[in-house]
Amino acid sequence: MKKLLLVISILTVAAVQAQAQQYTGLEGLLHCPSADMYAKGSGRISLASLNENSVPKHYATDITAYSLAYNPFDWAEISFTGFVRKIGGIVYQDRMASVKFRPLKEGGWWPSIVLGSNDPLSTVSTTADTDGNNSMCNFYIAISKHFAVSAGSIGVHTSYRKFRKNANAIWNGVVGGLTFSPVFYPDARITAEYDGAGINIGADVKFFNHISLQAICYGMRYFNCGLCFEFNL
């Protein structure tokens, strides 16, 4: 029994999780946060195309998001994201910061736990649904645990998330999903998640240690995608 526990423990700790980008530049699932983190000194430049159904309603159009992110420590991620849309020939942009802190790192028997927020600050603080300020504002606590199996690594992720604006309440509550990275290519990952409004599926793959691609079928109907360049600072 002790040997069995030891083997499970080693496999669990050694499980390699592919790193994938969210549109925020932070480690996460597809439309939900996770408690995974990039390594200290990691930097990312990301570009994503988001269907209008996956962003707050007042945008009323598809969004292009770009982000810059870095990890000052193993336990902290910080990013800046710009949401860009073009209406009637005019380019509009919303900016947001995202932060994520990990008080507990995943170990043999316990999961990692993070506290995080997207768009926590605004120059004009408002909860009006039609106002562009704090459009994405949300706070969350996330838990993640990975298990090594013969075919690869399975990640189990759950979060409790609360958006500030009522218009985004469809994404509130308990959300989360499952990830799988195959043993023959640990830098690939497939994900299925529930984001409060529906089921999303997607895949990430990292090439040459620096370039990540992400494809998402949002709500099993709409297509989102992302491109990320990862580097060490």
């Binding site: 000194g41 930097g43 870095y70 000052p72 420590f73 910080i78 800046f80 710009g82 860009v84 073009k86 020939g89 005019i90 380019v91 509009y92 942009q93 900016r95 910061a97 600050l121 120059t123 060490n232 600072l233």
Partner: protein, 281 residues
């Protein structure tokens, strides 16, 4: 050949000849960098309006910790308007560093960044491995190249004091500063820096009695290939760094200060003879 190109070539000649005429110069560095400015003032079909300068410069080490530096700003992308089409002087200074038992002093005079000219004194005192004090005092005026080169009276006093705390285990640094700045505002700033192999990333929060509160990020990327190409006492190389500040309030006036060196940045600081912490180059 259009006017801008002529002026660019003329500036290069002036800069290189300034270096070559320093007969006592021990080393002369000729370098080229880029200055990126972006803004979003108007609703138009662009994400940002861009203003990009190529900024060739020269630094001559005259011995005895004397140095002269000169730089030109040559606009290559200008979406800011005609005013910015001119080739401009960048930082052009003569400076002297003096090593003391309690740190180092640096005196500079000439054209600084942010359109200032005048004289400047700086002091850096690393008290121990994890704590240092810095201060700066300047007496400057404004200069501008509109139709002709014009100077205001050199009557503005600026100064600040900064405490720096280095956390070696985390390669991180906390800086707290307060003072009077070039738009005659008073205020203070707290900064947190992560120093990596080639890059420093900083987060800051600040208060200015005229511009209010703000926050943002700073990034300093050290450009490789600094050995460059050598020809006698001349070294041709890229600029030592590329740096950028992002301010969430997009206010260019709160706690604004000038640089006294064309390659000054938050990672390596203003001094050549002394750095804090010593491991950061």
């Amino acid at each position: 050949m259009n006017g801008t190109l002529k002026k660019a070539i003329l500036s290069l000649i002036v800069i290189i000849s300034a270096g070559s005429h320093c007969v006592s110069a021990q080393n002369v560095d000729v370098f080229v960098g880029a200055d990126l400015n972006y803004r979003r003032l108007f609703f138009n079909d662009q994400l940002y309006d861009l203003l990009i300068y190529v900024n060739p410069g020269v630094k001559a080490d005259l011995g005895g910790n004397w140095q002269i530096a000169a730089q030109a700003l040559i606009p290559v992308v200008n979406q800011y308007g005609d005013f910015y089409n001119r080739v401009r002087p960048g930082v052009c200074t003569v400076s002297k560093e003096i090593l003391l038992q309690s740190g180092a002093l640096k005196f500079s005079a000439g054209l600084f960044s942010a359109g200032r000219y005048g004289i400047d004194a700086r002091w850096l005192y690393p008290v121990n491995e994890w704590f240092a004090v810095e201060s700066q005092l300047g007496f400057t005026g404004y200069h501008t190249l509109e139709q002709k080169w014009r100077f205001s009276r050199m009557d503005r006093l600026t100064g600040n004091v900064r405490a720096r705390f280095f956390i070696k285990k985390a390669s991180s640094e906390i800086r707290i500063s307060a003072g009077r700045y070039i738009y005659e505002d008073y205020g203070g700033q707290a900064e947190f820096y992560s120093h990596f192999n080639n890059t420093s990333v900083g987060l800051f929060a600040q208060y200015s009695n005229k511009a209010g509160c703000s926050a943002g990020a700073k990034i300093v990327f050290m450009i490789p290939f600094q050995k460059g190409l050598k020809a006698g006492k001349f070294t041709f190389r890229p600029a030592s760094n590329f740096r950028l500040t992002y301010d969430v309030m997009a206010d260019n006036h709160g706690l604004k200060n000038y640089s006294i060196d064309p390659e000054e940045n938050e990672r390596t600081g203003s001094f050549r003879t002394l750095t804090f912490p010593g491991s950061i180059k």
